[in-house]
Amino acid sequence: MKGRAIVYKKNDIDTDLIIPAKYLNTDDPKELAEHAMEFLDVEFPKKVKEGDILVAGRNFGCGSSREHAIWCLTGNGVQAVIAESFARIFFRNGINYGLLPVVLEGATKKISDGDELEIDVKKGTVKNITSGKEFEIKPYPEFAMKIINAGGLMNYVKKEMNK
């Protein structure tokens, strides 16, 4: 997976910053996309391009369990979030819905805004094409890999139910 980095050098980016509660009256990713990151950076929906990769500090996605925080990003074409760490529910939601959460120590130091990145889940690496450096990412639990490979939890469940 290749994409351009959008970096927010901030820890504890909570789900209210990612998608404020007033927009939880819909679950349409396109509608949510217009308000993604609104309380952190109103320009985000304009800046973001299909295939971009969000990069942030520690404890990304803390707070609410709202999967709207995933949908507003996928609705903008974001493929993955690289962070120094994630809050538990956001990490799982990402795996389940297919917005790849990637744990990379020192992420905001290793990646700058606009860098071209390549994530290789199988190899367990993130390559910063712009700087030419390659980094190891935290490996996924085996079950999470199964879900990633199935293309999300619903696909996985369907397969299991048809067995």
Binding site: D14, A21, N59, S65, R66, E67, Y97, F143, M154
Partner: protein, 420 residues
């Protein structure tokens, strides 16, 4: 092998003798709790995938709570999708408006969750249910869809942090103050992917409903679950609400914990978490001359009858400051009725506070008290993130219901003890 209460519950729900942290499990669910924000997307996910199945309608408990009574057409639509689904699948445990309440409070109040059970919901505060010695876990909508269809949920067995709290709480100091103190030490990611098990003499002395604050706000430290070993008080509490059989499990004396943190709260003062993280706890005496425009008592953290009594006790003989809007929101219809019978609602109204029907409302900036730019609120809720209660340039201070009431009287953040 010695086990924690959490490990024992998990083991029993995946057919194993024992489990250890780090192990992948797929557990059977006893209860799925559903509300109108995260469940309709789960229903849609099921429909999109051609799965029209509910694993067991009798194990699902549903109440609309976040934006009720419906605040606009879109939220009316969400509530309708939930209601239609309830009817279609003949789900009996449905709390319609008039019987409704905040989902976590409804579940505990009506004895749907009992010691040893497993509960999931599309809501991060599902960690609350550890208050009766159950395993509760918040999940997202996709995972909720899978849980509704299969009655199972997968996860990695978490490690447990033991948080030991000793000492007698002083006058005007409550479980909320204890929790804000703990959060200020643990930080907002101090317990990520872990369970917090609370023990100690302070916990033993607390009533079950006061303990709720501790398990409820465990997620504010990132925890999967906050749990308390059931004791006599727990047993009495749940048996007053349910005659169903349950499984009483407790941590072994020599169970393994990833760390052990001790707190002495005997000299703890009332606490306030200043913007914009719940871990920004300070003693109220250090928060000087901070004016407030609004004061809210409510939420799944502090919207119970005891909370209303504590706020009313502070307000007694006093009035809400002329520049403050005080909003009191009983967490459930039952609490609302009880407060009515006790004359508390009249006391609030006499003191110039307003009383709302049960709803999450302002807790998440939904409705019933959303803040304008530059406004500040002190609230008995659980999160004070940027924009949590409205405009991104508004502020939320978290405190106990008593501190909220005292601040409403003074028009600025205030110590409740002078009014007790």
């Amino acid at each position: 092998m010695p086990q924690t209460i959490t490990e024992k519950i998990i083991a029993k729900h995946c057919g194993k003798e024992e489990v250890s942290p780090g192990e992948l499990v797929n557990i059977d669910l006893d209860v799925i709790l559903a509300h109108e924000v995260t469940t309709p997307p789960a229903i849609s996910a099921l429909e999109r995938n051609g799965i029209d199945q509910v694993f067991d309608p009798d194990k699902i408990v549903v109440t609309p709570d976040h934006f009720v009574p419906n605040k606009d057409e879109k939220t009316a639509e969400l509530a309708k999708r939930l209601r239609d689904w309830v009817k279609k699948h003949k789900i009996k445990n449905y709390y319609e408006i008039g019987r409704h309440g905040i989902c976590h409070t409804i579940l505990i109040e009506n004895g749907h969750v009992l010691p040893g059970m497993t509960v999931v919901a599309g809501d991060s505060h599902t960690c609350t249910h550890g208050v009766v010695g159950a395993f509760g876990m918040g999940i997202g909508s996709t995972e909720l869809a899978a849980a509704i269809a299969t009655g199972k949920s997968w996860f990695i067995v978490p490690e447990t942090i033991k948080v030991e709290i000793n000492g007698e709480l002083g006058k005007g100091v409550y479980s909320k103050d204890v929790m804000l103190q703990i959060l200020s030490k643990l930080g907002v990611d101090g317990a990520t992917d872990k369970v917090i098990e609370y023990v100690g003499s302070t916990i033993d002395a607390m009533e079950v409903e006061d303990r709720v604050v501790l398990t409820n706000m465990a997620v504010e430290a990132g925890a999967t679950l906050g749990i308390i070993n059931p004791d006599k008080k727990t047993i009495k509490y749940v048996e007053q609400r349910s005659n169903k059989k349950y499984d009483l499990v407790k941590s072994d004396a020599d169970a393994k914990f990833s760390s052990h943190k001790k707190f002495d709260v005997s000299s703890l003062e009332p606490m306030v978490a200043v913007p914009s993280l719940p871990s920004n706890g300070k003693t109220v005496s250090k928060v000087k001359d901070v004016k407030v425009d609004q004061a809210v008592v409510g939420s799944c953290t502090n919207g119970r009858i005891g909370d209303l009594r504590e706020a009313a006790a502070v307000l007694k003989g006093n009035e809400v400051h002329k520049d403050v809007r005080m909003i009191v929101i009983p967490a459930t219809t039952k609490i609302y009725k009880q407060a009515l019978r006790e004359g508390l609602l009249e006391q609030f109204i006499d003191a110039n506070a307003t009383v709302s029907t049960p709803t999450c409302g302002p807790c998440l900036g939904g409705h019933m008290g959303v803040l304008a730019e530059g406004e500040r609120c002190i609230a008995s809720t659980n999160r004070n993130f940027v924009g949590r209660m409205g405009h991104p340039k508004s502020e939320v201070y978290l405190a106990s219901p008593a501190t909220v009431a005292a601040s409403a009287i003074d028009g600025k953040v205030a110590d409740p003890r002078k009014y007790l």
